[in-house]
Amino acid sequence: MQRGSSFASMEAMRILSTTIYRNGRFSVDGKELARSAGDLDHDLTKAWTAMEVELPRFVRMDRSSKLVSIAAAPFFAADGALSKYPKDRIGMVIMGTHGSMDTDQRYLDQLEAENHASPGLFVYTLPNIAMGELSIQHGLHGSGLCLLSDAPDIPQLHDACDILLHDHDMEAVICGWSNIFAGSAEATFMVVTAGKEGNWDNDELERIFNEHG
């Protein structure tokens, strides 16, 4: 079986919108929304603030959940790519290398320093918790996949989207790469649907997802 070849259906994959967060810069469909050069916590807060979304809980999330929340937020805006899709037909495929290690490390550091760890920190020590945060924020009830990989695997993301769209009856999928560890954060998210006119280009996506700096 050739990976990334729509094995579950003959319909093509269509990307409706893309967001990229990398080293303090956040862009939506190529338009820069925020730029910051402080430490990671400052940069994430600045990117979130730029979107003017009311979410008191944001400051209490772990960094991984903040990154995922930022990367997905534009899709849920009034004119966002997901605004017209039913919440129970929106799926998620999120891939990353380090999972929850950023928070795992903070949890261990706190245990060693204070001989106890915050329950509020403990609940974030799972790789898929950020997807749960996103589901709670936006009332999503669709299927989801959390994948770990050394690097963005575009064919595997394609196949995972295909499965959610066709086998799980999703109408749209939030598909992307989210990785945060040791003071560095990057995320590339897309809204993917199925249709006759596809625009999924493995080579182009390899370039976008693996761009650094």
Binding site: P56, V59, R60, H116, S118, P119, G120, V123
Partner: protein, 88 residues
């Protein structure tokens, strides 16, 4: 305990809650003594309850062992302060 002492305890408790739960934008003055901690009040959730249990143990040396007791204690800052005052 005098009225001054319970007032001081409540103020200290509010400051600790803001700090421990990272309630950005909240001030001690914005939290009324009898404001509900959950839902339409301060908007805390079930994870925050765990944080409050740790806070009371570490900072005030008061443990909540019985979940039913927690329901009574964590109604407001006033009920938390009363519990601390009676048990430490």
């Amino acid at each position: 305990m005098s009225t001054d002492s319970i007032t001081t305890l409540r103020q200290d408790l509010k400051a600790q809650i803001i700090s421990h739960l990272n309630l950005e934008g909240r001030t001690v003055e914005s939290i009324a003594d009898d404001m509900p901690l959950f839902d339409e009040g301060l908007g805390l959730d079930s994870i925050d309850v765990l944080e409050l249990i740790v806070l009371m143990d570490k900072h005030y040396g008061v443990r909540i062992a019985d979940p039913k007791q927690g329901r009574e204690v964590f109604q407001s800052v006033a009920t938390m302060a009363d519990h601390i005052q009676a048990n430490r």
